[in-house]
Symmetry: C2
Subunit: 140 residues, 2 copies
Amino acid sequence: MRYRIGEVARLSDCKVETVRFYEQMGLLPVPARSSGNFRLYNESQLGQLRFIRHCRSLDIPLEDIRRLLVSQKHPEENCADINQLIDEQIDRVESRMQSLQQLRKQLVELRSQCSGKMPTSSCGILQGLSDCACHYPAER
Amino acid sequence: MRYRIGEVARLSDCKVETVRFYEQMGLLPVPARSSGNFRLYNESQLGQLRFIRHCRSLDIPLEDIRRLLVSQKHPEENCADINQLIDEQIDRVESRMQSLQQLRKQLVELRSQCSGKMPTSSCGILQGLSDCACHYPAER
DNA sequence: CTTGACTCTATAGTGGCTACAGGGATTCTA
DNA sequence: TAGAATCCCTGTAGCCACTATAGAGTCAAG
């Protein structure tokens, strides 16, 4: 069974352009071509594309996906690297969560400075944003 | 008092290239020039740059910052738009927090599938990533 | 007079796609 | 069998907010 690009895109929940992009990035093998020069994919290539999409849904960067694909091709090797890669991804996600937490706090604090019914000249939000005291505490 | 670009960059905690970039984006007024063609900034321009950096530290997009700068130039107008802009930013941050929460859960679940001491052929993580069951529940 | 720190412009790269433009292939309908 | 609709092709440029580089010029200190 062979699929054309639109079909693999649909079956792996991404756009046609994205499939071509992955090929260009070397994440997908160069596919066979039909007589009319259309890309033709088999089950294994569809599987690989789905693997990539699954990784991307976990926000794993393309470089890391590349490493995972290499690991997959070496079944006898130890999988410690894979575990480490996922641990690092979890760390990245947690650290982003922390910054967002902090960010939210600052934004809510800023928001509380104004009721929204002022002329901009006395808007607490604009004043808060102009004030460098909270952003650069060392400066005054 | 006039500052050269390196100084305003230092005083507003960003890189020299970033200052030039903001100028190019029209977020900073075109500065005066010295006889040797160096950019020269005054206090007010430094203030505006700090305002921008403060907004960026809250992850407010440049387009929104542009709107805030315009509002600042119209002190008599009502500040409802500014409040709405911040509310939208809070919404964006909260929705990103939620996706990260979800992401973390999935990654931790995936991580639990392997001890890290297997050959890659039986690594639970690789198997989990190859499995489309969790990512495309509708498909089987 | 040279060194070194600073600045200038212009251009390209980052990540992960997305969106054209301008054509060819295939398939469906009349 | 003609024409239309839908797919597909390559190549290039755009998105965001910078960052980095090349190759040159400016300026103050020693």
